[in-house]
């Protein structure tokens, strides 16, 4: 038996490291910042990071659901721009000015409905017409931002609206509102995945779509559902970005967000072939990506270099995933 012991221990330590690789990475980044980044341990730093990470986390959670079914959604950034462009148009319209309360409500609901419709488009393309997800979502990736820019004539829309800005600048218990929002969404999605029939079907479809269909799973509906949730969350993130900036810039809102979201999901432990939906992992992934960005920025490294660092993180995450396979 003495021979069998080393293999056994390595087998047990292996998964342990793999499962907590993200946490280890987070601790390393935090330790580095505490030691080297000036003014890191200040409340202001926490605020900045929470308010910035919330949008990545929200989009990454939707992306995690889509990836769990074996799909991918490239259109999230464009949907953010579209939703973000719509909101100021609505509350700054004549209607919004005449009825401020209704205007704000409509500025929240209508963009989310439009985002949901985008998701339905993606879902129908993928689930009904059997288009490859990467191609299906490329359509809105390209055209979504275009529509947003057409709607705003390509202009930056600035505004001053206290109620709407609460979405991006409000505080609850001293912490940014959108942080709480992201957390609430995470808890809800976690329960959806682990407790509901919808969640079980999501994982089953990603695990073996043919088997799921033959066991009576409503594959088409569930797939359309996850794309709608993903797009809806992207729309919400778009609104938050606009609220933070008190301005809507259709050209920049959500730019490259699809990459951040996919990276966060993968770093968080989502398998691109589907079957796993680590919701809190997505948040962890988003935090890591945000912190790396912040660390480099705070230490005077240029934004372009930060992109390379991000690629490094994805590489590491993919490597960890590969070692998972026997």
């Amino acid at each position: 038996m003495s021979q069998s012991n080393p293999t056994q221990t390595s087998l047990q330590i292996g998964p342990l490291l793999r499962d907590h690789g993200g946490v280890v990475a987070l601790i390393v980044i935090l330790a580095f910042n505490i030691l080297f980044t000036p003014n890191f341990l200040q409340l202001q730093t926490l605020f900045v990071n929470i308010s910035q990470v919330a949008t990545i986390a929200i989009v990454a959670m939707g992306m995690t659901l889509v990836i769990a079914t074996g799909g991918i959604d490239l259109s999230v950034g464009a949907v953010m721009a579209l939703a973000g462009a719509l909101a100021p148009l609505i509350f700054q319209s004549q209607f919004g000015v005449d009825y401020p309360a209704l205007g704000i409500a409509a500025a929240l609901v209508v963009p989310l409905l439009v985002a949901g419709a985008c998701g339905m488009f993606n879902g129908v393309m993928v689930a009904v017409l059997n288009v490859q997800p990467i191609i299906a979502t490329l359509i809105l990736f390209i055209s979504g931002r275009g529509i947003a820019q057409v709607l705003t004539n390509g202009n930056l829309q600035t505004f001053s609206n206290k109620s709407f800005s609460y979405l991006g600048t409000g505080k609850v218990l001293g912490l940014p509102f959108q942080g709480w929002l992201a957390l609430a969404i995470a808890v809800i999605l976690f329960l959806v995945i682990s407790r509901t029939i919808f969640g079980r079907y999501v994982l089953a479809i990603g695990g073996n779509e043919r088997a799921a269909r033959l066991a009576g799973g409503p594959v088409t509906k569930v797939k359309i559902g996850v794309y709608m949730i993903c797009a809806g969350l992207a729309g919400l993130a778009g609104l938050i970005v606009v609220a933070i900036n008190s301005a809507s810039d259709a050209a920049r809102n959500g730019n490259l967000m699809e990459l951040d979201a996919i990276a966060a999901a993968v770093v968080g432990g989502a398998l691109l072939q589907g079957g796993r939906a680590p919701i809190f992992g997505a948040i962890l992934g988003a935090v890591i990506i945000q912190l790396v960005k912040y660390t480099l920025l705070a230490n005077g490294v240029e934004d372009e270099v930060a992109l390379i660092a991000k690629a490094g993180i994805i590489l590491a995450a993919v490597y960890v995933q590969q070692t998972r396979k026997e």
């Binding site: 069998s4 056994q8 029939i197 695990g207 088997a211 066991a215 009576g216 079957g275």
Partner: protein, 505 residues
Amino acid sequence: MTTLLEMNAIRKAFNGVAALSGASIAIERGEVHALIGQNGAGKSTMIKVLTGVYHRDGGTILFNGAESVLTTPREAQATGIATIYQELNLVPLRSVTENVMLGYEPKRLGTFINWREAHRRTREILMRFGIDIDVKMPLGSYSTAIQQLVAIARAVSLDAKLVIMDEPTSSLDASEVKVLFGVVRGLRDAGVSVLYVSHFLDELFEICDRVTTMRDGQTVGCVKLAETTKLELIAGMLGRDPDEIAQAGMTEFGGGAAKQGEVLLTAQDIATGPRLSKFDMTLHRGEIVGLGGLLGAGRTEAARALFGVDALTRGKITLKGAGAPNSPAEAIRAGLGFLTEDRKAEGIIPGMSVRENLTLALLPKLTRNGQIDRARERQLVQKYIDALGIKTADMEQPIRELSGGNQQKVLLARWLANEPDILILDEPTRGVDVGAKREIQMIIRDYVDRGFGVVLISSEFEELVEGADRIVVLNEGRSIGELKNPGITEHKLVQALAHTDEVTA
């Protein structure tokens, strides 16, 4: 003859659970050696230890006279061990030549593939096995049998000394099996050893020289096939007394005893495409109706049509007086269940637990307001694990870690838990060991006796003949007749298959 391979006292454990505890096997040069045992006996683990997929915890391996320290399948290939897996690891969309030559293509100027030479060599290799096909066609355009032979040809072209075949005949029909056996004999004559893993015992007597039997991770014996009987082999695998089995019969079915109840299902003149062009059947409560036919006769297609997977192009299905289902989900609601033939591709969800796999079809009934009643789920799963004797560490174990027979029991439980009026079983005991097979057959008979109906598809005529109350005979996508038990014999079934016109039993 000299010994090519000697594996001695091999030990291997997964997370503390022993899969192999002192297993041994010795293969001579130019010998076809069978390896048998129930699912979970350790056959696959043994092969994976040999080919370097797993690292052994203890024991010695001598291959070709030298201590073997293989760590990757690639190394195994280089030393002369080739494995033909159940699931072929070939590239169906690429040409036959590319598949055979993959990684060893003849080059021009060291860079460019010399296609003419590649095609020529491939043709030559295949001709040695009597396969004369267009090597420029995509591999996927040929039958499974041809693909399998191509895989073997590739292995042999790489100078294999030992070819491992894992259930090579499970998806072949009778004539294809003959061709395969010819190839195996050719290998033997050329001095290549073959390790032959199969559940079909009859085959072993036809093609193998010696047989090693495994049980519970250990080797229980190695005998010449000429000096043993099928009964003794089964007894060895089960660890039971041969006489006891002889008395009980080879299967647990007893067809023909059923009393027919009301009509559950009728299919009239249905068609779904070229592979199912005219099919009729009736199923009553309390009976097993078998679908008899050769590979490609349209049995699975008939099952898919009944379950609403494939749309009808003609004809009419009546289900308990109502119309036909349009999707699996509708079929399940209407009281149908369908245990599919291809466990891996259409049955299990490998990453999910036994519990999640077992309740997948039952979820709508376990759900209130979209939320799964998890307490009831666990209770139900435990009930079926106990009732069917599913061997699993606990219900949270991923199903991919279970042996084939236990996976099949989980899938069977997936449907039994739903209590469908009609259960369609497509090869319910394929790739399942003898012990689990008898248990599954008993479960099916039990189910029918409770007043439900079963449509049974099986390539094993023995199972069909003994199990079914009636057999609908199919040939080339058409139902061509019906046989009634008691009174069906394998001989009569074969006769019915041989006649393409109407037959009556």
